[in-house]
């Protein structure tokens, strides 16, 4: 058995990112002057206000994946499912990175990320924000079905899928639309849309506060870094379409850091990718031990009101939500001019785990099921 976690931050990853069509599309639609086509394909983002709103959605979209990933991660019993744990953990950290990257772009174009509001938190079950609602996301313990949903979340965009900021089918489509919008509005605004005020530039979160997984925080000052940031998000997330079968490029194997979609697929298939694999072939490398039963039997989509009959449990769940809300508040401030707050958020993140696992140890009535974290807005006690 080879462990997945031997991967390191590797320039090879850039290969995957380059395989994306974001840049190509922008070139085709915008740089080649093919404006009518652009309008036809995506007329959704034409103003700065629309861009602000779209990147706020991007932050919400990145965040919306975190509670379900965390629930699956924490539901795995201690000391089991080593590889699966490591994979999900690294993906969650990278999703947080993506959230920060989206916030960096929003700050770079004069927006103000809103992260500590009640409506920031999605309801589960639910769909990805502004998506085509083609699948449902639950707060659900680690299982094959859960990982299957994760694959849907991270599914690569089909080569021919159009950019779409609203009603998108894949996250890739969404970001393509945002990239197009950025290029379009920037090109059509005198002096561009990127802030030049040094005070506003200080709102960027920089790399020094990020560690623990692949990728890096790109501070965004121009369209160039914005593009890099989006490439980072999309490349790390979904990777390339499985209809692409580019035999020249080595996409898998040791030392190559591949996208979330493929990492989740390794768990589902209980196998690692190896060097000769392609997106089409799926993983054919060494077997991974996945103990699907070594999981806390957490109730599906728990809500705090479900716990009203168990006041002590209710209190614990409330404390979890307070920690979670405090964490969002912390990230909000970090993305609104106090980047150093991120270090203080680390403690909250660890607390979240311990409190979640405690909840999963508490029986939910006599149902045979266990309680779990509900991820709802709860103002912390002052």
């Amino acid at each position: 058995m080879k462990l997945a976690f031997s991967q390191s931050n590797n320039p090879q990853r850039q290969k995957l990112i380059k395989g994306l069509h974001t840049e190509a599309r922008v070139d085709t639609y915008v740089k080649s002057g093919n404006v009518p086509l652009l309008k036809e394909k995506d007329s959704s983002i034409k103003t700065l206000a629309q861009l602000h709103s779209a990147f706020q959605t991007a932050i919400e979209l990145e965040h919306s994946t975190i509670p379900p990933y965390l629930v699956a991660l924490y539901s795995i019993k201690d000391g089991t499912n080593q590889v699966a744990t490591q994979i999900i953990r690294s993906v969650v950290i990278e999703e947080m990175l993506h959230m920060i990257l989206a916030a960096n772009i929003l700050n770079a174009i004069g927006g103000e990320p809103k992260i500590n509001a009640k409506n920031f938190i999605p309801a589960y079950p639910g769909s990805l924000p502004d998506s085509d609602k083609s699948f449902i996301i639950n707060l659900e313990k680690f299982s094959k079905e859960t990982i299957d949903t994760f694959l849907k979340i991270e599914k690569p965009a089909h080569t021919n899928a159009p950019p779409k900021a609203k009603g998108y089918h894949t996250i890739g489509q969404f970001y393509q639309a945002l990239m197009l919008g950025l290029e379009y509005v920037n090109d059509h605004t005198e002096g561009g849309i990127f802030v030049t005020d040094p005070e506003k530039k200080k709102r960027q979160v920089t790399q020094e506060h990020y560690y623990g997984s692949g990728g890096e925080i790109v501070p965004v000052y121009t369209i160039k870094e914005a593009r890099l940031a989006i490439e980072e998000i999309v490349g790390q997330g979904e990777g390339i379409d499985d209809t692409i079968d580019d035999s020249d490029e080595k996409l898998f194997g040791q030392g190559i850091e591949y996208a979330h979609y493929f990492r989740f697929n390794e768990i589902l298939q209980e196998r690692m990718y190896c060097e000769k694999d392609t997106p089409k072939s799926g993983p054919t490398g060494e077997k991974i031990v996945v103990e699907w039963d070594a999981v806390h039997n957490m109730k599906l989509n728990p809500k705090i009101k479900d716990y009203q009959g168990q006041p002590e449990l209710h209190e614990q769940a409330k404390q979890f939500n307070q920690t979670y809300t405090a964490l969002l508040d912390n990230i909000h401030h970090a993305c609104n001019g106090e980047p150093e707050m991120l270090m203080k958020g680390v403690g909250l993140m660890y607390q979240l785990k311990y409190k979640a696992v405690e909840l999963m140890n508490i029986p939910f009535g006599d149902t045979g099921e266990m309680a779990g974290p509900t991820f709802e807005f709860e103002q912390p006690k002052k």
Binding site: D78, Q316, M343, V346, G347, Y354, E358, N361
Partner: protein, 138 residues
């Protein structure tokens, strides 16, 4: 009418009063089963039976009156001479993960309540994250 409670239920209920942690907090450690088994395996069967008989009695007699219950625990459970010091051992187990000098399990060490009481965490586990020590506990 009182419902006949199992020894394990009684164990959890009396543990609340012995440790000062509520039921959800104790369950949250995930250790209830392990510790109940440790009580059974570290004591003689008669001691266990008499102990839980007394527990059932004092819980019932003092229901709703915490002061009276505490007094009863003090008199009937806490002395080292009572049930081979079972109550003291149970508290020590919840707080430190040890039965006497023996570590019940690695997980028992990690779940020791003493760390929670001390607003800390077990050394080597449940780490609070980079820089957390520079500010008071969350």
């Amino acid at each position: 009418m009182t419902i006949q409670r199992s020894e394990k239920d009684l164990f959890l209920e009396i543990s609340v009063y012995l440790t000062g942690f509520d039921e959800a907090e104790l369950q949250g450690t995930g250790m209830v089963n392990t510790y109940y088994q440790a009580v059974l395996s570290n004591n003689t069967q008669p001691d266990v039976a008499y102990f839980f008989e007394m527990v059932a009695t004092i819980l019932q007699q003092n229901e709703g009156n915490e002061d009276a219950l505490n007094k009863a625990i003090s008199i009937h459970l806490m002395p080292a001479s009572a049930y081979s010091g079972m109550a003291m051992n149970i508290i020590n187990m919840w707080y430190t993960g040890n039965w006497g000098q023996n570590v019940v399990s690695g997980q028992a060490y990690i779940q020791g309540l003493i760390w929670d009481a001390a607003e800390a965490h077990p050394p080597g586990a449940k780490q609070p994250g980079y820089g957390s020590w520079a500010i008071p506990p969350l």
